[in-house]
Symmetry: C2
Subunit: 238 residues, 2 copies
DNA sequence: TGTATTTTAGTTGTCGACAAAAATTCCGCG
DNA sequence: CGCGGAATTTTTGTCGACAACTAAAATACA
């Protein structure tokens, strides 16, 4: 495959703290994967990465193992590791899990949130609203994820939070696929729904949170399905 | 021709297949952690392990990274990694997640199971029933986990299956803590409930599966809480 | 004797190198 | 010109070694 000259330059100084090597490459790779800078199916070359980040292959391998156990990359034995591609055939399982987690985390947030949690959630919502105002699609996707992650954190259940964040990241890649140069008026609806969620959480109205979580999930699922359906037309061979 | 490997005992000969080093130590450590052979808080010494398993530190580190990202061990920076201890203060979050996953996976199994799934589930239930008959506590814990994991597999949602298996493993450690030399007549009740679950799944009765999953979870949660409460008495200082 | 500081031992994180396996190229033969 | 197999190249999995860092032991000092 042809090398791309616009690889993200991460030339760090040789001055690095001792334990942070693997952590650093983990964060870099994770960010690039979620931003689709490394599109699904990309081959990850260890020595190329080690040269680019000025470190040995050992910390890179450690980061790859971590990413593999989170499902972000797949490593074939004795073969190169590739960025996991999105399983369009089983998207419904993703939607099922996402919907349930939207509901559960919002409910739990209503029950367990503190004032500090609400402050964080409001800050995330402000960032999301700003991204919508400025029509920044990438920022919208990222801040939307942070908003719901903050709600999950307020729910105080690390098991749900862990699964939900994983799902949100997967959704981040999905949305990024279709949001590359496209936007519509739907995001305003999300801003409104987010505000409703905040109010319901603060009022500790569990039933309302459940309903809002479900409808919000339905919105996003419907949007993604619509995008896929619209995109399907290009797949017809002539 | 590929070389034939003997029984994967503790002391493996230098004859090992190339890619299987890290996998092997991962499985060994995982088994020992879940069996409480390595009790929570145990320090894991890399060089000691490398000597015991006749391999370098590199594959051992890879296995430790994987275990850490699954939460089975915690690795302090520049310090030794220890087996994660059970968070008794936040057990309720564990119970919440476990209950929800019991319900969801059983429901999905009712909707999506095939005949092959039912065969596997029945085989697991037979193994569990046999363990109950022979009063083998360790085998009961292990086969009970496999039974519910098989139901989750039949539900065909890898996100739920992943979280559920993680919870079941955590529960395996919890039960093992209290089942060391103790058993009562409760397991028979589990056999009956398992049979009811199988019937409900096969009948594709989603509502009944939901109810059975919830009550089954309640049983287990109540049992664990009772064990903890009984154990608490010893904690009173005089 | 108790406390602060230095020394020492031990463990982890990183490195470069080497061997095995796969991918690729090269070459002979039909 | 195409194809099968051997040789080469590339990439991964593993190894031993070393530096950085932590914890404990030993020493100095009030």
């Amino acid at each position: 495959m042809a090398k791309r000259s616009d690889t993200p330059a991460e030339e760090t100084q040789p001055e690095r703290k001792r334990g942070s090597g693997a952590q650093h490459v983990y964060e870099v790779l994770r960010r690039d994967i979620l931003n689709l800078t490394l599109p699904p199916g990309s081959l990850i070359d260890e020595v190329q990465l080690s040269e680019r980040l000025n470190m040995s292959r050992t910390p890179i391998r450690e980061a790859l193992v971590r990413l593999a156990s989170e499902g972000l990359v797949s490593t074939l034995p004795n073969r190169s590791t590739v960025v996991s591609n999105i399983d369009f055939l089983n998207l419904h399982t993703f939607f099922d899990a996402l919907t349930l987690m939207y509901r559960v985390t919002t409910r739990l947030a209503a029950e367990n949130h503190t004032e500090a949690d609400m402050a964080k959630i409001r800050a995330c919502q402000a960032a999301f609203s700003h991204a919508v105002d400025t029509q920044d699609a990438q920022e919208m996707i990222s801040t939307n994820r942070d908003f719901h992650a903050a709600i999950a954190e307020a729910g105080r259940n690390p098991y749900f939070t862990g699964l939900f964040c994983r799902l949100l990241d997967e959704g981040r890649r999905l949305l990024r696929l279709y949001y590359l140069s496209f936007d519509d008026r739907l995001p305003h609806r999300y801003v409104v729904e987010h505000d409703e969620m905040i109010a319901a959480i603060e009022a500790r109205d569990v039933a309302l949170c459940d309903r809002l979580g479900r409808t919000h999930a339905d919105q996003i699922v419907a949007q993604i399905q619509q995008m896929i359906a619209r995109d399907r037309r290009h797949d017809i061979p002539l």
